[in-house]
Subunit: 332 residues, 2 copies
């Protein structure tokens, strides 16, 4: 394992300290318990808090700021944060209109966020993201996994919360965006968790893992490596089938997110985008919003995921609205 | 070699097509010859054009837009663009105040941009970037290499050009920023050029390449892998020594850019930032501007570079000013 680290037990704290220092105009870090908030506390709005294991950067702390999250609670690498982190974060940012947690569907996260809500003295609700159409039930999950589509949920709900919308309305939008979002990922290599010191799984130079999870969980199938168009074809097919099984008409506008897992060059991500947009057009899906880059990573895994969100006027409005965070910034 | 590609000869065109489609509000792609411009042509300003071999994405096309470049000319992977590309780009974007080329110091780029200027019917000047303090002369270079500091030059000169400044003034700022910027990179793995199909160089699991170039060129020394703080210490020392050798006082404000080469997780880049900022403080250097991420990559190389730019009021003003490109966006 070759990584830019010092002691394994300090990786998270040192990295978060660098993050908070580099973005001190936007975010503030607290330790013991560990959470990050906006540098300028928002007033009189539903506060949006997310969190989860680290190793998926810029998810979630990179999305703290105007138009998106109020706080984020990072756990150790690929490990859920603990309820005291969520409680402390909620106490710090609460702004009199309740707390909305956005949680990726993994057993540890679900359990710890639930424990936090049980102790929380504020009105609260939770949006559970489950956009990964690859598999139902997985290594750390009952039901579908929450993956890169979570970024779209956080962006849209964050935007709505800035308008002063109430808790139920924010939760409803989050649930709607999640329902209209489908993702699938492909791994070309494993990731390496620093504390483990070795690859999470073995994969041959001739293989790919179709439907991999963002912690290296198994996907649908170990397959032969092939051309990008053939890989993307199968991913797009999986997503379209998922929408059809939900009864969602696909003949509409969509947001296409091509997400790198950490070690895949932007050049390849844009090539995937090119391939996917063409294939989607063949299904009557017109890509009118795009995001290409490393937005929900799996440490140093080579690979990428494709996420499609079926747009409507409300989702478009909240996707396009201004956002000002370390990892997403536009419109102001 | 496992990459998301179809035919090797189509990688660049497919990737650029995806890029132009994903960012069609900002950039437009032309083929034969290949160049990219802003979607909205700027008027009455010095136009800023850059280019170079592909494989360093988002450099340079990712920096096309308001406040930065007017056009970019991508060559094949790690291969200079040809003069007809620069000529066509200049013809397309020229806006009556001359053309400023920003060129990284590699023999092929220098030669081809020079050939273009010889045929160019417009007033023109060139800023040659040479921020890499690792080595003098290298595989593809006479003199120092231009690396990630080029992003800072493009940002500042691009900002100045928007104010209507004349060609000589834009060139002078570019030269000044380049002189006040120093970089050094470290590779943990090689990159793999698609057309070659194998690693550019061999490196053991226990080794790093100190001072590596962004094409995998040799650096100062093959060294033993060690803790991040020890690696960063040597990088910071090299940069500080470089400034001292130029007679530049280091006891001042600076911009710190931690650049990933393509396969290094953001978590590690922020850890490097944390380490570097502390060490710089020990040299009296106060980091007041930051950029952390993949901004000048080397395909799928694991590794990172540290770039420091010594700020003055003029550079700060042009760094902070609004920019609206696919890869850098703030302030509007």
């Amino acid at each position: 394992m070759k990584k830019f680290i010092n002691q394994i037990e300090n990786v998270l704290t040192e990295s978060l300290s660098g993050f908070a220092s580099a973005h001190r105009d936007l975010v503030t870090l607290q330790l013991d318990p560990t959470y990050l908030t906006r540098s300028q506390k928002a007033q009189n709005k539903v506060v949006i808090i997310s969190g989860g294991g680290s190793g998926h950067e810029p998810l979630h702390a990179g999305y703290i700021g105007f138009g998106m999250l109020d706080a984020a609670c990072p756990g150790q690498v690929f490990t859920s944060p603990t309820p005291d982190q969520m409680l402390a974060a909620a106490e710090a940012v609460h702004a009199d209109k309740g707390v909305l947690f956005i949680v990726k569907n993994y057993a540890g996260d679900v359990m710890n966020f639930e424990m936090a809500t049980e102790m929380l003295p504020f009105e609260h609700a939770t949006v559970l993201t489950s956009d990964d159409c690859a598999v139902v039930n997985s290594t750390y999950t009952t039901g579908r996994r929450g993956v890169a589509g979570t970024v779209i949920v956080e962006k849209c709900v964050g935007s709505l919360a800035e308008t002063g919308a109430d808790l139920a309305t924010c939760k409803a939008l989050g649930d709607k965006v999640n329902a209209r979002t489908s993702s699938i990922g492909v791994a070309l290599t494993s990731c390496t968790v620093p504390a483990a010191g070795r690859a999470t799984f073995d994969i041959a130079e001739t293989e790919l893992e179709m439907g991999v999870g963002i912690h290296g969980e198994p996907g649908r199938k170990r397959e032969q490596m092939r051309k990008a168009d053939a890989i993307v074809h199968d991913c797009v097919q999986a997503i379209v089938t998922d929408f059809q099984s939900k009864g969602l008409p696909t003949n509409q506008e969509a947001l296409l997110l091509i997400n790198g897992f950490g070690a895949t060059p932007l050049m390849e991500l844009y090539l995937i985008y090119h391939s996917a947009a063409k294939l989607l057009a063949g299904h009557g899906i017109c890509v009118t919003r795009s995001l290409v880059g490393n937005y929900t990573t799996a440490l140093d895994m080579a690979g990428a995921s494709i996420t499609l969100c079926l747009l409507d006027d409300e989702i478009k409005q909240h996707w396009d609205s201004p956002v000002h965070t370390p990892a997403l910034r536009w419109g102001r």
